[in-house]
Point group: C2
Chain length 248, copies 2
Amino acid sequence: MKTIRKVGEVLRLFTAAMPEHGLSDLARATGHSVSGTHDLVDGLARIGLLRRVERGRYRLGPLVATLNRALQDSSALIEAARPQLAGLWRDYGETVHLTVEDHGRLLVLDALEGTQGLRVSREVLGGGIALHDCAPGRLHLAQYSEAQLADYIERQPWPGTKAREGARLRADLEGLAQADFAAGPPGPEPDVICLGAMIRDHVAQPVAVIAMSVPRSRHEVQPRAYRSLVLGAAREISARLGWVAGPG
Amino acid sequence: MKTIRKVGEVLRLFTAAMPEHGLSDLARATGHSVSGTHDLVDGLARIGLLRRVERGRYRLGPLVATLNRALQDSSALIEAARPQLAGLWRDYGETVHLTVEDHGRLLVLDALEGTQGLRVSREVLGGGIALHDCAPGRLHLAQYSEAQLADYIERQPWPGTKAREGARLRADLEGLAQADFAAGPPGPEPDVICLGAMIRDHVAQPVAVIAMSVPRSRHEVQPRAYRSLVLGAAREISARLGWVAGPG
DNA sequence: GGATACTTTCCGGCATTACCGGAAAGCTGC
DNA sequence: GCAGCTTTCCGGTAATGCCGGAAAGTATCC
């Protein structure tokens, strides 16, 4: 894509030492015509990668900061969650994940595999597992609007009637949005229990799920303790992101 | 530019909550064909605005961080210099500038105009003043290689022979590179003295010039004091940028 | 292992767009 | 007011982007 190559050429001319460039400077530096370069930088200014600071002079624009914030924030979310993930992993030796929802699928941002002899694989939430097939995914689905959920159900390759499966899923999701917690076997793994708790940001928006996956045999011994651990870790992370617990 | 508009569309889909996207997700979200979207994201990956993390999945790429660093660093340079600029301005009430060199011209990154009744305008270093016409500019020229200087001289619209003017300029620049200081009237302003000192970074590279502009009548009273002030401010800023004074 | 289903990758033809020349406009200096 | 330079604007044309469809890759199911 020649145009995109030119975009790269032009953007790279903006450095800390040379934060501002005139039009003819850019044309000369890239070897293109002035009017062609004008069309290009005007286009970049329209999308926000550049901004025009005075007649014919340009600097890097707000989209750069926005994209970098997205880059940093996703890193920031991982950084914010890391202490609790590492804490659970160190103290309990179980497999832990940090997940977000991405177009109807689960995306793992961070994962630490358990250290005990009998452990759950970190891949248990990998490979594009369907949201409804795991506790973190059901928590994400619990945040969906009715329209989003209907669309999700419509796109599932279910045998039998979708209406029935959909009703069953809706029943499953009932209450999860408020409890901010879900637990159950992931996918076709009856001997694993995966517990997930919702992480919220400074405006109480759900942003991610922290999950712990445990062999059922260990979970059965003290299931309420596991629930408290995971919920507690999620609250600590949410607090770090600016969430303030309400009266509820 | 339709391609650039698409670039903006696609890049904006990458957020902290959705840092990774598959190809068909991007195509669906933008309404373009899968193969067309593939061409586009492949192009963006080649220039570094995106990066391919696994087959058909993309995240924001290193050029975003690089451009943001350029955005931040130019801000960082202004931030690093601001205390000294503000200090000189507050303590002495004279006009101060922070400048960089930009394709054979002086670029003002920051400026504070003097507060006394008789003051030098902040515009004195504005309007694309030629480098050789002011002290900060001559300091920038002093860092030029012989080839760069020859080219600069060649491009000057001087009456009379360029050889003569060029020789005169070279004589002017002699020693500035080592002294890291220059002073003199800017442009056609015999009643103003502009003093400039070079700011260096952590690898001793010249990055900017701090300049103070003073009515000649005040400069004449204690010229060496002004020189020390400006050089001292430059050293403090350089130290903040990681420069370590050598034995020289 | 083969079939199925889906996504991604690749490639060439064609419609669309980017590119540029040149005119008009803007700005500065004399 | 003129000269010299840069930027802005616009339309014609050549180059490129866009996409359809085939091939390749991957995962799941039987």
